[in-house]
């Protein structure tokens, strides 16, 4: 086994997250899929740091975590305000800008 397996695992997780974004309808679940994709990228960064023998990649993963925390806070607030206005958390119902 080599560290490449970690990269393959993270590619698989990223793909599952991307498919989830395409398939799911609940806005919160879509958001969770985005979090999964961010986590997969973090695993890639940590693995590359390990392959390189430095911790620069870990620092990048740390910054990704900070940005993800900020993004989650704002995104969930947006979902909540949309839900308050339209009584729905489905991404299909938010189509006012469609035509």
């Amino acid at each position: 086994m080599t560290p490449t397996y970690y990269l393959l695992l993270s590619a698989l997780l990223f793909t599952i997250g991307a498919v989830g974004v395409l398939v799911r309808r609940n806005a919160i679940v879509v958001f969770m899929c985005i979090e999964l994709m961010l986590n997969a990228v973090n695993l890639t960064l940590v693995t590359f740091a390990r392959i390189n023998g430095s911790v620069d990649g870990q620092v990048m993963a740390f910054f990704v975590m900070v940005v993800a925390a900020a993004e989650v806070v704002v995104g969930l607030a947006i979902i909540m305000s949309i839900f308050r206005a339209r009584r729905s958390a489905s991404v299909d119902d938010t189509n006012l800008l469609k035509y």
């Binding site: 560290p3 793909t15 609940n26 620092v59």
Partner: protein, 282 residues
Amino acid sequence: MTALFLAQAGAQATVSTGEAVAFWVLGPLAVAGALGMIFARNAVHSALWLVLTMLSLGMLYLVQQAPFLGFTQIIVYTGAIMMLFLFVLMLVGRESSDSVVEVLRGQRLAAAVLGIGVAGVLAGALTRAIAQVTPAQPLDPWSAQGGGAGGLGRLIFSDFLFPFELTSALLITAAMGAMVLAFTERHAKGGKRSQKELVIARFRGEYERPSPKPGPGVFATSNSVATPALLPDGSVAPESLSELIESTSAAQFSTERKQVSGDDPKPDAHALVGPEKEGESE
């Protein structure tokens, strides 16, 4: 071709047996959590599956000699972010499970095909790019250059100092944005009126009538919504007629109105039998 590169890479093993065992336990757990998140119909179940994935990833960071990041993953992601998700789920969409109906036809099949394609491209590119690279020996996390809090902090506060300062601006902006977006007018000044203010406003004529509207079923033979309320003179209160139930009309209740208002023929006091009622057969 991928297998070829994997076999080529396998020649240079720098991974200990314990790490391999941990990977083969945690990796499938992470994938199972991700798949469970996609396929769970209930959003709360999706969140719990995602917690499993994030915990497995945190353990994988620990295994890869990144203890600070591993614990941060567990604390920040599974502790803070996923609990935030669960809070919002309980507030917003707990009962909203996804429908099985495809809105766009063939979307799921297309998504699956695209997913397999992306996974293949990523895996092929990664293995091809890594094939000639000899992985370095894992760093000791407790050394000054390792992945512990000391090594990471040294780097953050020297090379990455400016980005680190920028994250403080990002975090405070995110907090302000969340407060602005999630704010409701209800508790603000001049938002919701108290009962006293509402009564005063009603008697000033700001509303249609000073009293609340009559409830359905008042003075009526049943208390269903379809039954209108009757005013003291026996006429139907038009405000009590539901707009949704169009079949309810004043004419439908004409007999009841006549009975209440006393317009209908009184029973003959000298008759030997009482008035024949409709629907009763003797």
